[in-house]
Amino acid sequence: MTPESPVAYDLECRSLTKSFDDFVAVQSIDLAIPAGSFFSILGPSGCGKTTLLRMMAGFVRPTSGDILIKGRSVLDVPPNKRPVNMVFQHLALFPMMSVAENIGYGLRRRGVPREDIARRVEEALVRVGLPGSGGKRISQISGGQKQRVAIARCLVLDPDVLLLDEPLGALDLKLREHMKVELKKLQHEFGTTFVYITHDQSEALVMSDRVAVMNAGRFEQVGTAQDLYYRPATAFVAAFVGESNKWRGKVETADAGRLTVLTEDGVRIAGSGEAALAAGATVDVFVRPEAVALSRDAAGIASMANRMDGAVASVLFNGAASRVLIKAGAAQAEIDVALPQTGEFNDLAPGQPIHFGWSDAQTTCFRAG
C-alpha cells in the first residue's frame, strides 16, 4: 500500500484472490500489517477468512495477487520454508509427543543442536508461564495450557508472523475470557506480529490493534475497534459488530449528511449518513441499544434529536448487559434499549409508560442494498 517503505510491514497482501471452480472465496484483498501489531480478521463463517489465513501459511495457493513477508514475496515458498507459524484451530499438538518434544519439533527440523533445543524449549515454557512442564504428555495438560504450548511451539521458532486460526473456539466461556487477556499480553511481550482470525467480535475487539471485517470474500472495513464500533463504514459492519436496532425508511430531507428519514412504521428519525444520500433514497437506519437514553418524563430527554414515548414490553435482566424492550409508535414496533445500571430504573416493570431518545449523530444511515 505504501510502496516507498515496504519493509515497515511484516505482512502484505496485494489484490489477493482465491477462487474454487466458480466460487470466489477471497476477492482482491489488499492489506498491510505493521511490524509488531495484533491484527484480527473478523467475519462470519464462510466469509473466506480461513482461506485467506491458509494462503498466508502456504497451504492454499492464491489464484492471483501476491503475499509479501517483510517485503519479500513468498508465493513460491512452500509452507515448511515460510517464516510464518500457525496456531491451528484445534491446536494440532502432536499427541504422541511430550510438551517439550512438541515445542522442540520445529527446532529439530532446523537441525539445532540437542542441548540448544532443550535450553530454548525451557525458555519458551517459562515465557508462556509453564516452567518445568516439558515432560508432561499432551493429554495430561488443561485446555488453557494446551493453548500456551501451541503458541510456544510457534514462538520458539521466532517467526516473522504468527497466524492464529480461532484457537479459543474450543474453550469454555470463562477460560476464553481469561485467554483473551493472556494472548494480548503474550503478543506484547514477544513483540511478534499476530494475525488472528475469528468470528467472535469480542475476541477481535478486545485484543486487536486493528481489525478487518470480512464478508463474502472482501474486506468491508479495516480499522481500530473504536472505528468499527462508532464509525461503521458499511451496513454490514454496523449490523455485525455490536447490537443495533434497525429500521428501513426513505430519506425525506438531506443536508450534507444530516438526514431525516421516515421509517416504514411511520416514525420520523433524524440521523446522519454519507453526503451522497439524497431525498427519496431508501436507507437502513442503525441505532445501538446503549445510545438510547431512558427517562420517566419528557423533560429528561428534551435535548435529544430523536424523542419517543412508549410502554415497557419486557425487561431482560442480565446484570450489566440488561435490556428493556419498549413498544412505541403507531406500529407498536419493539425497540431494544440498554438498561442503565445506575439504580434509577431498577423498578421498571412491563406496562409502565416510558420516554426515550437518542442523538442524530448516533443514528447511522446506509443506503439499503
Binding site: 501459511a57 502456504g58 497451504f59 512452500p78 509452507p79 515448511n80 520454508k81 510464518v84 507459524n85 500457525m86 491451528f88 484451530q89 484445534h90 494440532a92 499438538l93 502432536f94 499427541p95 504422541m96 519439533y105 520445529g106 527440523r109 532446523r110 511451539r153 510457534c154 521458532l157
Partner: protein
C-alpha cells in the same frame, strides 16, 4: 430383553443356560485337544492312561515328542518363514494402500476400493488355483521361449507367500486405513508449518500415529498366514508349512504329538491375539 425391562425368571435362567452351553460348545474341542496332549497312550482318545510329557519331550520311537520330531520342527520353521514374509509384504502394501485410499482423490477410486475388497469374498481355494494357473502359465511360456526353468513360479514357498499375501493385504489395508481415517490432517499441516518437509512430516507424525495399527495388522497377518490352509494347499511344493504337515499326519492317523503341537499353537496364538486386542484397546482409548 434388556436389564431395565423385567423378565420372567424362568426364561432368564433358560437364556443363561443356553449361553453357558454355547461357551461349552466353543471350548470343548480346544479342551480335549489340550488334555489329550498329556495322555500316556499312542492314540489321542479315551481311555485315559495317565499323565505324561512324552508327547512334548519323548525321544524314542514310537513316542517321539514334538521337540524331537524333525519334520514337525522343520514345518514350523517353514511356517514362520512364510508368515514373516507375508506379514512384511502385507503391512507394507496395506500402509501404502491406506494412504492411497484415504488421502488421494483419483478416478476409479471407488472401483479400486471394491476390487481391493474382493479377495475377502473369493474362496481361498480359488485364489490358490488361479494363482497356480497363472504362474504356471508364465513359467511354461518362459520355458518355451527361452528354455529356462523358473523355479520361483512353480509350486513352492514363494507361491505360498504370494497366495496368502493376495488376501491378507486386504485385511491389513482395512485395519491401517481405519486408523489413518481418524488421523487429523491438521497435525501434518502443523508439522509442515513448523518446518518439516512432506516426507519428514509423514515419518515423524503420521507413521508414529499409525504404528499401533501397523503392529496390530502385522500380528493379524502373521496369525492368518500361519493358520492358512486352503490357499496354501493349492500352491505348496515340497516344503510343507505346519498346517499342511499336520493335515498329512492327520490323514495317516493321529498320535498325541499332534495334540502337543496344537496346544503349543493355541498358546502362542492366544498370546499374540491378546496382544493384538490390547493394542486395539489402547488405540481406541
Amino acid at each position: 430383553m434388556i436389564p431395565s425391562i423385567p423378565q420372567n425368571p424362568f426364561l432368564r435362567n433358560a437364556y443363561r443356560a443356553y449361553v453357558g452351553l454355547f461357551f461349552i460348545y466353543l471350548a470343548a474341542p480346544l479342551i480335549v485337544v489340550s488334555v489329550f496332549a498329556f495322555n500316556d497312550s499312542l492314540f489321542p482318545s479315551l481311555p485315559w492312561k495317565g499323565f505324561t510329557w512324552d508327547w512334548f519331550f519323548g525321544d524314542t520311537d514310537p513316542r517321539i515328542g514334538l521337540f524331537h520330531d524333525r519334520s514337525l520342527l522343520n514345518a514350523i520353521g517353514v511356517s514362520v518363514f512364510v508368515a514373516f514374509s507375508v506379514t512384511i509384504l502385507s503391512v507394507a502394501v496395506g500402509t501404502t494402500n491406506a494412504f492411497l485410499f484415504e488421502r488421494e482423490k483419483f478416478r476409479f477410486r471407488n472401483f479400486a476400493y471394491v476390487l481391493m475388497l474382493t479377495p475377502l469374498v473369493v474362496p481361498g481355494i480359488i485364489l490358490g488355483i488361479s494363482i497356480l494357473i497363472m504362474t504356471n502359465g508364465v513359467a511354461n511360456r518362459a520355458y518355451d521361449a527361452f528354455g529356462v526353468e523358473v523355479d520361483l513360479l512353480r509350486p513352492g514357498l514363494p507361491l505360498v507367500v504370494l497366495g496368502q499375501f493376495s488376501f491378507i493385504a486386504t485385511i491389513t489395508t482395512l485395519v491401517i486405513s481405519a486408523r489413518l481415517r481418524k488421523f487429523d490432517v491438521e497435525l501434518e499441516e502443523a508439522a509442515l508449518n513448523l518446518g518439516a518437509t512432506r516426507w519428514v512430516a509423514v515419518r515423524t507424525i503420521t507413521l508414529p500415529y499409525l504404528a499401533p495399527a501397523m503392529i496390530g495388522a502385522g500380528i493379524v497377518a502373521f496369525l492368518m498366514s500361519f493358520e492358512n490352509f486352503n490357499t496354501t494347499l493349492m500352491l505348496v511344493g515340497s516344503d510343507a508349512p505346519l498346517t499342511i504337515a499336520l493335515f498329512d499326519r492327520l490323514k495317516e492317523g493321529s498320535t498325541p504329538v499332534l495334540n502337543a503341537i496344537s496346544l503349543m499353537l493355541m498358546i502362542v496364538s492366544a498370546l499374540l491375539a491378546l496382544g493384538a486386542i490390547s493394542l486395539q484397546r489402547g488405540k481406541s482409548a
